[in-house]
Assembly symmetry: D4
Homo-oligomer: 234 residues x 8
């Protein structure tokens, strides 16, 4: 009866992104209805294109039709799902995912799963915040063995500066929204990462484990999108 607008429009997916920059488009599911998500999956199915879903919360997962739900590899902590498998997982962990507290686990998980979808293994070093500095020091040698470190911290984000002063590889800070009062849902930790006195730390958006993993893939040159010079010191 109405003249326009009754349906959610079909998504216009960027299937060429992988070829263009070596990173697959992930489907950000927060606030999406079941029908929208199923429509996206159907488009991937039709092209036999694997798909990574992020921010797919348990109640959304439960609302999907059985036929779709049973075909997803779903992780309820990181709120991610794989539809058809991504690239085969490498044997050697290339990224250390380090966190300040156990409440950061969903964000760590989103990074770990995104890396895995793109075929990169990682090592989790969680709950090593600097209030008990020994926890970080105990695992420093292990962390240093990875070319890229993804650091996740909420509250005041002091972990970023301490880590950045001790590790020479790529350090990607992911502020998490853990905290209360002045922590301001991650804004404090974000700004601590940006203003860190340790040189060369880089930052992504609050709780953006997916973005950190993509940045790690770029830094590793494992997304296929980056020229790898024969001799970088030439």
């Amino acid at each position: 009866m109405s003249r326009a607008g009754e349906q959610w429009p079909p998504a216009v997916l960027d299937f060429g992104r992988g070829a263009r920059i070596g990173l697959e488009e992930a489907v950000y599911c927060a606030n999406k209805q079941a029908a929208q998500i199923e429509g996206v999956l159907a488009q991937h199915e039709a092209r036999r294109h694997p798909c990574l879903l992020t921010r797919l919360f348990p109640q959304q997962f439960a609302a999907l039709a059985d036929g779709w739900r049973s075909r997803l590899d779903y992780d309820p902590v990181s709120h991610t799902a794989f539809f058809m498998d991504g690239r085969p997982l490498g044997a050697e962990p290339m990224v250390a995912v380090v966190s300040g507290g156990s409440s950061d686990a969903p964000v760590c998980g989103e990074a770990v799963r995104t890396l895995a979808f793109h075929g990169v293994a990682s090592t989790r070093v969680e709950d090593v915040g600097v209030a008990g500095l020994w926890r970080l020091m105990d695992r420093l040698d292990e962390i240093r063995r990875h070319p890229v470190v993804i650091a996740v911290a909420g509250m005041e984000g002091a972990l970023f500066s301490v880590l950045g002063g001790l590790v020479g590889g790529v350090v990607i800070a992911v502020p998490s929204s853990v905290g209360y009062g002045v922590a301001a849902a991650g804004d404090l930790s974000l700004r601590s990462a940006l203003a860190s006195c340790a040189p060369g730390i880089v930052t992504v958006n609050i709780d953006n484990g997916y973005g950190a993993a993509c940045a790690a893939l770029r830094a590793l040159g494992l997304n296929g999108g980056r020229p790898r010079p024969a001799d970088p010191t030439a």
Copy 2:
């Protein structure tokens, strides 16, 4: 010719504060005219009451009449002055004043001078920010020997959390306005102190070295204003 308001009103000084809470009122000179400051000094002179001046910037100091200026013990880095001496200085340093960078020196100095005015000696441990963690670790035992630590840091203020997790005495954080961009003139460091994951750190206003020193005096019970129980564990 005007009907009202041509003169700055004389200050109403709280000479009873020392007796009431054991802390002398300091004269905050920022934005005060020379005539106002001289009026305050004259009131102290008349009562033979020593006086601490803070935020007295060099150009303000230079604008005072010679007779007043020559009687001030002025420190151009901390922007503080003593008019008549305060209490005699104790032999044993009771407070460690620790800073993240050399640009924090004016704030450290304001704390050190306020303590000195009240008779308390302190130890300066400056420029030991956590990007080079060894600088702090090298001096940790020395810091720990003081019952109170005043920690001054700008930028992301990671020093507060690291220190708070390593030291068991009173830790008073003073965020400094050192930094740029998201450091936001001390707001970031302030919030880092407040949201620190190290338990029991307390905080004062940005650049408020004077306030930190007053808090230290309260914590030491050296302001005379605090009951000292015979046996606190009884």
Copy 3:
């Protein structure tokens, strides 16, 4: 089926904190699942280590397994629980916990219970906001008998300045999130504490009764982590 991240990682607890700085690590339960909390309790059980839980809301408490729930000393107003008792309670109250309004009771309770867990008794002086100044004045002598005052206030936080000008002991301000409109969930009260014209007030994060209690323990030297000089005026 998924390759990583399905489980919440076990917490890495800082059991050495008590020995290091004299304050036990508390378990901050907000947003933690029942299984995570039970895992933490199990770790404490295994080491016969008493444990303080904070921000344990009634619905979380109700979701714990009976075996664990029955062993907790739970307080539904302050949202705290003791697992195994802490230190024996001292006879003499060392801290006055003063509040502006009856809605501040949960924050007051968190401070009182944290102190009790560490063996320190306290006196509650609640609902004495300065809009009815006589309420505070009536109890001023009682408040002054304690070496440390924890002041809790929301809204505009005028209590902090009035108290700080009348009491010579340690004054720890805890801004509470009580209020609406410009009170901004505690941000106004926090900033009032920091900018107070009364000298030497210190502040902790919004609603952080736990942190205030830890700061009180540090100031009292009752955490065992602070050197107590023989003669502080020497």
Copy 4:
């Protein structure tokens, strides 16, 4: 040579405001050039209309042509000037202008002078901030004798709440921009006034002594614009 816009346009003055709402339009001089101010004065001259100038800073006053400058009753502390006298001054002070610190004097002065221009006398009670509560208490009876109180305070603005709980007349809060760090140029004091737990306090913009005086005139019904009911309790 240019086609448009080379001149500042002449001001369009609201000479009917006095008749309409009983308050004369004041000329806000901040950022105005000497030529603009002189143009405004010439318009008043032509109509024989007295004029109040606010935020006329000393360097602006000095830049006016001698002929205009000599005819102004200028007050360099409040930055106000009268061009031709306003209404004759009443004998009885109707407004108490109370401030927290001596740095609030320019704002107090702006209120006092605006009242005087409209013929209302006032009493200044300055530098009675609550950190030394006795200063306010000593003068409370005097303050209470005025039907309207204008309270000026910067920093944390605790004065507003204490005063509002003790005085039953009209209380108009003027936040001042005095302070540093979290005081945020008056924003903190403004919010403290608005969120005050004392009932019925009203507020004007930061440093707006002129506006507070206008509000006082409205409340006194002395602006002629307000109906005065024969028997308000009927």
Copy 5:
């Protein structure tokens, strides 16, 4: 079993406020439990003291024991209740309550009911926002007959400036939290009131109809707390 804090503390009511400043303490019920509210009512009952309750939401009202609920005069739009009647209502309306939109009705109602509790009648002029200026102009003469105008507006709050330029009596702005996006829950309207180019408008906190009514009582001198000079122009 717990050592402290299991009960909400009884409220410390300021029964002397009416005598002191002529305004009764209202009970702000938001976030209060039924038991707390009932405790407050019992204290009033015991002293035969009428009581105004604000922010008493329907679900809270429903949760009260029947014996208390049946004795309350409850208004579900303004969320206010009277326990025992306040002062008898005057015949002549002294306050015009003007609003920009029909969604402001709860705030208008809180003001109207608070005035009524103190015996002052008022006139409601609602939904006259300036986007349709004729709505306001049609009722301007009626509004002008009241010595005090309470203006309630959300969104951009343009009503305040238009009204303030047309009405010579007391104008009290109440920003409401109506709006979305940049309206920021009333912050925009609040700031519009404060920065209004119409002289002498005063402002209270967002949605604070109670505070506006108290301010109106102060301005009318009907709270008994204000000196009424025999001849204000003397």
Copy 6:
């Protein structure tokens, strides 16, 4: 039993707006009760005046009485409804509604439906965000055929600048609240539109599809409220 305020006041509708400025008043339903909405419809019914309802959420729609609900043309994605039809729809689409992502569909729909109610057809070009620039480029010629473009984008709003540099017609930016973390519920996208380096882009409030459509009607001169000069270059 209560003395005032028990009922929501009837809305004062601006039925003259269409004649005055050529735009019908829409009824903003967010937070309105069913009875309020029905009252508004009854007023329109009585005058035979068509009505556009916005922000009418499904649960509100469901709560309307059957008699009213069955007469509404309701669109659950855009949350709009028509009560009686608006103007007949033109054949030629005059506005392109372009969006960055599929989550912007409700905002796009609000614009499309508002245009349709006023008789203007539009073309939807959704999900063409600049991370996959080809999606926008593919449809650029189509977009350029419309005299007005409404651009809807959340997150960082880069779409506005790219579009503004490529299209010469009217470009109206509608920031949407899609995003998380620093996107800050549309504030980031809003500010990106305002600070865009592409000249002549204009902006409306966050999520305000209705306002953008009204602005388009003004720009098209199709609201009847705008003079159309015979020869604009004369």
Copy 7:
């Protein structure tokens, strides 16, 4: 001697913009050195391309070499200059530039001059803020004769809503940075424009008279970049 970076890079000018979207690139001079501005002029000279300069402050103008300065048509109030003339000026004013106060003149001037550079005449209606509503009403018929209105206002920006409810043409709001305290350098006025209850107002960045003029050109279809349908109601 240095290896890189000693010179400011030459500007990369978008000379194709006029052909692409019908608007010439203006040179934003704020913070540019004389040498940079002269370099830009030389590029225009070489192509015989007229050039509009904005935010060229008097001291910058004075610092240009005589040869360049004498060839500029400079307006010191609007801080704009023409290098070679733009399009010939139309006879009929198409845009009304309306402002709230005389301090808005620089922003009005920037709009007027940008329009003139593109050949469009305009009418200035300045200093008609709503605190004296008659000033606006007196000139309303004149304003309504223009298809586009550019409204400039600082402070609380109430002008936008009043104007938007009375005028049916295109209304482009330009918030100006005039004001103090909560006016926050234009942020308040900006938000008032965005949240205005008058439908279809659009907004540009604070003080952006240039952008408003470009938007007016787009709306008038006078930039040549917009399709002009033969019969817009078909």
Copy 8:
């Protein structure tokens, strides 16, 4: 005469940083006095350690003693200086430094010079903002040849998203403080980088060209601090 604090304390330099993480400590000169800078140079001289100085503004450079000044390789656009040369410059440019506008040149220069000090050559691609998209497209192939892109943009920062969707290498966004009004001194551009819809972009603090260069060195593995696995896909 004063008891403490008259001298700025000597800097505690982190000479071990190069060995630890492969990045030399740079000396941030903003707000440092000439004597402080000379002290730092003397420490480097004594150890024969090259030194990079940043934010050394022309007036500071001019204030240095001749003996020091003549030995600095100073660049007045980027405000950087080399004291003794850094590592020899590689032949092949490894980093593309891309900017939105010519005003971003100082930030670009800081990045270019920091890279050069560490021996890495770079390519400058400046003034290619997306309002004229062809400028970027013309140079896209050249940009893509570098493994790392440093993108500098102020205003709304749309450049980051467009670039991030087209380039597969490491993309490091540096928000610059260029802009006015809502651009908010770089805050807008910063947030646009963080919320970008293009995956895997990373960000550093506003105007932090030094930090971006350090991050590039980490990503290139050219700082010597990062393990380089033999076969990253193994």
